[in-house]
Symmetry: C2
Subunit: 146 residues, 2 copies
DNA sequence: CTTGACCCTGTAACGGTTACAGGGTTTAGG
DNA sequence: CCTAAACCCTGTAACCGTTACAGGGTCAAG
């Protein structure tokens, strides 16, 4: 008999909240675990590792869909893993674009901050800058992701 | 009689979709505009500038709540504008933290990408790295914002 | 007179997580 | 034994800002 864990214990060990674990199950990243007599979920060691995989992917900023693709590859060891490389490369590219965009943004903010110490709003350079019709970066995806 | 614009024209001029404009109105960033006989919204020049202000703020990554605070300052010119500086500074700090986090992340991704050209998933270093229980950055806010 | 381009309202979706409500079960302490 | 706390269950809604619908009305040109 291998040891099993209830969802709360898994949460403690993986740093992943019970809600998220149930969410991953609903989305199909985790197979539905066995249930005890009272309907409680019981997880084995492999599930713990799978959840760790997901969390690590999330901490890298991968979306759950990409993680699901990576898990599918992992579940079929004979598959060509070029797809994994593709996912990671694509994401790296995305992250690099995002860094560049945020740097442009930080520069614009730095030009504006601390320009009007102790003044009145009527003369506030920050507010004036926002009214100025020259959004330094008006392209899509230039602000924060939302 | 000053010229007025319908929502679609405003959208064209500001680059802000009609849905977003109505959304800003519902949230109170814009006052409800006058309505024509058919119930169509009619905007004046000041509204256009206010929407431009909002879009510029959004392009800087400010959230709508912060923008609302800045608009409130702008609406009361006698107020001390230290609050505006506070908002911009706080946001700049946030952006800088985010850049730093993304750079850590990009480094981790770069270590992983292109490690297993043409291999099988069983040996895929990307997948192995994700199973490894050493999430380089497990702190909150280290992944992408979501 | 129809087609298409507008406009209106209200609701739901996206992503991932969190927070409930409303119920049941176990466990530890008195 | 009794009770409170801690845990589990399901389902739903919120968060943020935007987009996309559905289902309806209005107006102009062809």
């Amino acid at each position: 008999m291998k040891p099993t864990y209830r969802i709360g214990q898994v949460a403690t060990r993986t740093g992943c909240s019970p809600e998220s674990i149930r969410h991953y199950e609903k989305l199909g990243l985790l197979v539905a675990p066995q249930r005890g007599e009272q309907g409680y979920r019981h997880y084995d060691q492999a599930s713990l590792e799978r959840i760790g995989f997901i969390r690590h992917g999330r901490s890298l900023g991968l979306d759950l869909h990409s993680i699901q693709e990576l898990l599918a590859l992992s579940d079929h060891p004979d598959t060509d893993c070029a797809a994994a490389d593709e996912i990671a490369s694509r994401h790296l590219e995305h992250v690099e674009e995002r860094i560049a965009a945020l740097q442009v943004l930080a520069n614009e903010l730095r030009q504006v901050v601390h320009q009007c110490r102790g003044g009145k709003a009527a003369n506030c350079k920050i507010i004036k800058a926002l009214y100025d019709h020259q959004p330094t970066c008006s392209m899509r995806g230039c602000g924060e992701e939302n």
